[in-house]
Assembly symmetry: C2
Homo-oligomer: 332 residues x 2
Amino acid sequence: MGAKSHRAPTLNDVAAEAGVSKSLVSLAVRGDVGVRPETRTRILDVADRLGYHSNPWARSLVRGRSQMIGVLLDDLRSGYHTDVVHGIEDEAETNGMSVVMADARRDPALLRTRLERMIGLGLDGVVIVSGRADSAMIGDFARRVPLVVVGRPAELSPGIGQVSNDDRTGMRLAVHHLASLGHRRIVHLPGSPRPAAVARREAYLETMRELGLEDHASVVPGIEALLGTLAPSAADAPTAVCCATDRIAVELIGELSDAGVEVPGRLSIVGYDNIDFAARMRPTLTSVDQPRRAMGSLALRQLTDMLDGADARHEIATPTLAIRRSTAAPER
Amino acid sequence: MGAKSHRAPTLNDVAAEAGVSKSLVSLAVRGDVGVRPETRTRILDVADRLGYHSNPWARSLVRGRSQMIGVLLDDLRSGYHTDVVHGIEDEAETNGMSVVMADARRDPALLRTRLERMIGLGLDGVVIVSGRADSAMIGDFARRVPLVVVGRPAELSPGIGQVSNDDRTGMRLAVHHLASLGHRRIVHLPGSPRPAAVARREAYLETMRELGLEDHASVVPGIEALLGTLAPSAADAPTAVCCATDRIAVELIGELSDAGVEVPGRLSIVGYDNIDFAARMRPTLTSVDQPRRAMGSLALRQLTDMLDGADARHEIATPTLAIRRSTAAPER
DNA sequence: CTGAAAGCGCTTACAG
DNA sequence: CTGAAAGCGCTTACAG
């Protein structure tokens, strides 16, 4: 008694049963106006009774469009990525398009494989939510399918759509917040060598300069090194850290907890991305918030525009700061 | 200079360019043996030069199979769901099948919509990773497409494949662990009314009985209520909590931290699901671990078996316990 | 309003 | 080994 044990009904079956031509059934089920209401109702009743569903392969084949777009994301687990996806999905819903996802698991080789496979599915277009995709590879794929990349500040080849957040503004918000609390020895914990991470580091240095704090500016290579600067005797130990990502901030706070360093008592911490967990951990994490869902909608809207023949563009979204308990005025 | 600005090359184009028939090209690109090696190489060269890719819609239409299976998951954000998905993806890869995902966001209505849409894509089968899908609805869909459900212990209609973890064994592991540490006043914090959550609650009560601790057994309705029982004066306050899910455990630990109750000093906590965050939070969370990736592979293998005509079955995976810092011997 | 016909790009017997 | 033909289930002009 397996599913599909008997052939699924086709347009032909419905036409025969209703005593009309295939074309008429086609028009009726698609809600075309040029069909007499009574006829239409009768046809739809028959279609319903037979359990008719239009065959997507045949439909796509003849129309040259599947109304299906793919989303390739770098990390299924990250709240950032999932929020962007939700923005894409909701926007797609209002456009009558279907969204299918695949996960690249932060692995560039896998990204390529998955992208190849997705394109092989006959998608109308693809949104890549990844800051780390190789730009030459993206360029190759863009020749085969319309592409929009979310989360990559650096410019890609023309013809590729882009949506990114303004990392400079975001990092500036973080540093200004700390400075306004009274911090001066604010250090930066950088992320991976992704373009976005680089932009954040640059913005950190630039903002420290603007605030006249360049003498205190320091890019600490890693958590180990940072812990090393926190010896109780060190008078010039940093009092605040702005991290390139929430991932790093979470890891740092874990290590600090293990080492007995109080947050925000001894050290204030700011993250970047406002991941889901930022509000659930303790202390809750102050973090730069990208308008993720909005970025998703922008990406999908741009993709549909491109399908309609519009040129690709680079849209930039402005971040805000979510202030929580991991930041406070320095103790002295 | 949009992508696809000129028609993608077809089998016909390759045939004309190579001076052979369409059928021969079809056989050659699919690696059929009955094509002379030289001819084959020449055809593949032409195909490559023209950038030919077989049209998936036409291929699916004529074969009646798309080699594409869908995964509908309840929560993109949960490490449990993503691990199951990874198991599915990896197994699919070895079978030459493509996997596409969609997110139901813990919303039964959305689950239905997404499922409808996925099926409309022409998938060969669907894996639903959800403990909360309505069983009548699942039954309806199973009539249209082969279906495997992961994470639902209760029996569904025949013809639907199932993969679940043994919640009774899992909860028993949790309670025995606490009892062996010396806890007696072990309470249970239940989850949503999902079948899996119900099974865990039952198993808790049963295990407490087996251990002769039935007098201390207590299902606390919620975190508020639990906090109420922790007044310092209360001599019979619980010393340990086993939670129905990690989600609840994480929330509980957050509230306890805010209330100044030490974990595991005053209260030991065990979760269920071993989410990603369990090892990253502080204290790290002792949790029942389902073999999630294995469950994913089992699901996909079962689905392909069903596509080959096999009957649906219900496979049960055995959980283990990941012991971390949120559990310790009671203080007195 | 309604029907007959062509064609989307492929695979699969069927002849040679 | 290789080619001509039919057909998968649909949509889209094109006649009536």
